[in-house]
Symmetry: D2
Subunit: 353 residues, 4 copies
């Protein structure tokens, strides 16, 4: 068979492991030929294609990013895009396409499957871990490792200076990175997009924590929101009356300063959260996804997406994965409240630094 | 309530996260008092006990090991041991004991539950990941991360010198660390305790790999065995006729040298695989286990063990976890063969360094 | 003798190694008693003091921050501050004070030495590496390691998306972190406070680099400045005419976008650059400084600062270290230009991604 | 000019940084052509040569090992070897050769310079840091970082089980890695090749340390030796009278067990100490060496070796670097004794775990 692979959306540690596994499995197990479309869906739209050999992927096991590049191009937003994709597949005699991506990429794949019976298998990818129909997506573990490492570092500064520090992390719609990273790095408060926060409650918890431990560290997902933000009304202008505050991390830090009087600083990890060498966990998950995707191709299970269920890699209908986001497990998030200053406080704890 | 905790068996990254979570949950959510028995079951046998406060556990989130120490003492092998444990619990008015450990520790807990209706909850711990009734145990992820990092390092040397290198890793009875670590670190052959290996087959695969890539890296679990080891008969003596070879790593390296003529060196990670700061994954898993264990105590679900099932922490009967070991998922191991030189070889691959 | 130690200014990986070494050397080699003043100079001003034992410092070898806390308090800006310091030393029968700090802390020490003949030894500390009279200060190596790790991560994203990325790092007055971190992490342009930059030249270099490699990564020190910034005049306002841009990283990214048309994003490492477990290098340097500082105390070489000269720890007059900052070695910075796109371009290089 | 580069001896993190810097400097600053001889001196002997382009070296900044391979071939031990080297240089019209290596490689270079006036510049490389005429060699910092990380991990196990652990590290003739790594990782005893050790003194120190802290960790260089080893006479045979012990780590562990009665285990880091991604320090040092080596070529300073002196890269005569090894700075080693149990013990310290 002639199999093609593309990677769509934001890059994510583990993509190269998927590509490497697909190439090994296809060539060594099945004797296939493998091709990479470049820049996500832009590849099949514009016929950007190149062969992938064992030699090309050999050394990718510890390399972040994607050697076949990525983009956010959506064929359904390009004139005659879907047809162009189908035509390119035919022109290159591609028997099956493995599309690695998240909500958007898989959504396109799903439509191409129903509109054209396109021979597509999906591999789920979203660093935010908010895709349905799979227990976890690769890249997420690397991301929380980076958040965790950053929190370890912030702890030493917060402790040495008795300070309040805020770390803003990824998570536009779901609080997975904030919650898991925050548990790992011992955050004293975690704020997520799924639940608008009451700044007064947060301030009270931070005050309690400061009293107990002398310092406090908060993790806030980029998509988290104030229930009411009026506290910042008078704060967010500079001497010229100009707005000065940026993202939620900065806004939260300022609001805490106003409410508690404690000096509070924020840091935003930005792109650093999504790059670099993948963790062992993500390398294994990406590899297993890639190996199984090629098996699905040979079973002609088109329209399916590989999926982690417990310890097994299995497959689900692509359309089960798209449409709605997988938000945080509420039970898990509620459990973490025991670490939030005075949120849960049966007896008065005493921590001395 | 008065809750005690003990940690038994070999130490494991994540133990301190369990302890920290137990103390926070017990004190802050339920207003309990918490105590640590020192040195595993030796603690309750000899009444080695100390109170644990929030202050004691506050900074444990990134610390490996266990602050309440560990040992391999088994009360059922100590004269009147089980009764001493029960007496100590009573003498200290302990309402519930959380026992953190593997096969042995949980086996003792199981017996104490049935023999004395002792109020025990177990938390599964085994760095080898070979305990039944849970998807994963903490410490395992840290361990494969260390193996993976070591393999990344060995790759650069193997490649620069066109050499064959062997890495011996933990796994007396199960090949989890070897398999998962080996996938993550791109091993070219993985040898596990569950399957005695044919040195001729291994040698052929290594020859194929050397031809393709110039070098080869093998991972071997400490419990792996030669199907027939006679090849070493004439090799394992020094000039004085003395045995010179140590563990399986060294024996395998020597056998490969004999069979292939390639210079082959081995390294054994030893204790380095089981210590140090836990990965984010293990911190989260240990924390969730600890939080849930205290909930189980308050639900009086004695005789139960916390367990990871998919993405949820749930509980199972302790006796479901003990008695037999969880060996490697055969399907997973078989999948990795595609990376083993010529094991699976539909078409002749060509990799050039 | 009764020796006291204090740590002043921003925290820095390696401070705890200095403290640990001072306590071991003083107690074990000389039979001294050791005390810590808390919160920098605030400690002796307000008599915040506690004994330091071997037990207190035993486990500090891999811990960032400072267990005796820090602050930026300057006795010369507190009413009767200097006299209070002297009085506290006398009241506690302190025979010698080891002051660990940078420009400010050592400046105070220098004045106290000349004004009161105070028995002070200094240990140089500045994460920016901009202190005179020593080859290097501890914390700097950890800092460039963090910058380097961040750049490794940014590379995978920049490459996968053909993007321009900017990393803002510490360095208000000196470009050491930017230059050394940038060399280590293969930055394609490095901007430092010592040299105002011409945005047109930078843009040309980035265009050249994009053409060669498809992507580009810049490192900019927080203290770097545009030679002329008018390009941002029309860019830095939002729909309401409000200023939106923050630090130099964001401003530079915007200016590059305007000049080149390439999508450009910036990240600011913030406090993450100065915390966490020190590198092996910084642990060794901090330890050697601490051991030698106590020797100097016993040699009564008051008014001296320990200093790294080549491979040796020696000592210099405190006043040689303060007064002027050590800016970047121009020759070193100039050497890096060969990596800046077209800055140095004997023949047209061709790099294909 | 046409410049060639070769890398000889054991691989070392930072080699690829030297190669990358040489190629950038030669092509971009001087418009040279660059070639790599493969497998050290075997390359020019057998005319194994390939061009090196910017594209080849672009991504090497974070890659360990050497893309032009290495070997221990010595032309002066190959028939007509030196003449073959000279002939190959001429045949390929190579105007200058940059030889990157240690004692052996530089020794050959030195002879070729005097025997044939060969146009050679050396770059010092030895992971053991035992080369004369330079303050430090690249690879060494990465190595002590790995040792330090291993010691951090061993600490948690040693502490949790009250155990004595031995780590064997590189250093056949010099104790640099053992001493610097041991300081960084808080070893409780450090044994080096420069000083045969008295096992009785070591045992006493370990006993003192065990009493103070409950556990102890030793670092031993592979080249360290017992002053008298008779203690092992009765220990080193198995039931069949065969020798069982391997390297110095195992022998030392056994001797400590015999002398103290404490269970003692050893680990040998092996090849893991010399591979993998270089630290920021080594990347910078390798890069600066490479850039300067090309400058020296253009200044026609043949017979010189680049060298770190304080913070500057300068150059020395190759023959100043070879002939004798640079052993440990005695003063530095003596300073560390304060951490060795009871070696230096003015007053009885009390550390409680």
């Amino acid at each position: 068979m002639r199999i093609a692979i593309l990677t769509g959306g934001g890059d994510c540690p583990g993509l190269n492991n998927v590509i490497r596994a697909v190439v090994f499995q296809a060539i060594k197990k099945y004797g296939d030929e493998v091709f990479g479309f470049l820049y996500g869906w832009k590849g099949p739209i514009n016929n950007l294609i190149k062969p992938l050999t064992l030699n090309d992927v050999e050394g990718l096991f510890n390399q972040g990013g994607t050697i076949i590049k990525s983009s956010r191009t959506n064929p359904y937003k390009v004139e005659n895009g879907p047809q162009k994709v189908i035509d390119t597949l035919k022109a290159n005699k591609i028997d099956a396409l493995i599309a690695v991506g998240g909500e958007d990429t898989c959504g396109v794949a799903n439509k191409l499957c129903s509109d054209f019976k396109a021979p597509i298998i999906c591999v789920p990818k979203t660093i935010d871990n908010d895709l349905n129909a799979t227990d976890q997506t690769f890249g997420f573990d690397t991301s929380i490792s980076i958040v965790c490492d950053a929190l370890d570092r912030l702890h030493t500064t917060a402790k040495s200076h008795d300070r309040v520090l805020v770390l803003e992390v990824m998570g536009r719609h779901a609080g997975w990175i904030a919650t898991m990273g925050g548990i790992a790095g011992a955050a004293d408060y975690i704020l997520i997009p799924e639940e608008d926060f009451d700044i007064d409650k947060v301030a009270e918890a931070i005050k309690a924590r400061k009293k107990e431990a002398g310092y406090a560290i908060l993790v806030v997902a980029e998509g988290a929101k104030f229930a009411k933000e009026e506290i910042l009304k008078d704060q967010e202008k500079d001497a010229f009356g100009h707005v000065k505050l940026g993202g939620i991390g900065e806004r939260l830090a300022k609001a805490i300063e106003v409410k508690t009087g404690f000096e509070t600083r924020s840091t935003n990890l930005g792109h650093i959260q999504r790059g670099g060498s993948p963790t062992a966990y993500d390398r294994v998950l990406g590899t297993r996804y890639g190996l199984t995707a090629v098996d699905l191709v040979h079973e002609k299970k088109f329209g399916r997406m590989v999926s982690l269920q417990g310890t097994k890699i299995t497959d689900v209908d692509i359309k089960d994965a798209v449409g709605t986001l997988r938000t945080i497990d509420k039970e898990l998030y509620e459990q973490t409240r025991v670490f939030f200053g005075n949120e849960i406080n049966k007896i008065k704890p005493k921590i001395k630094a």
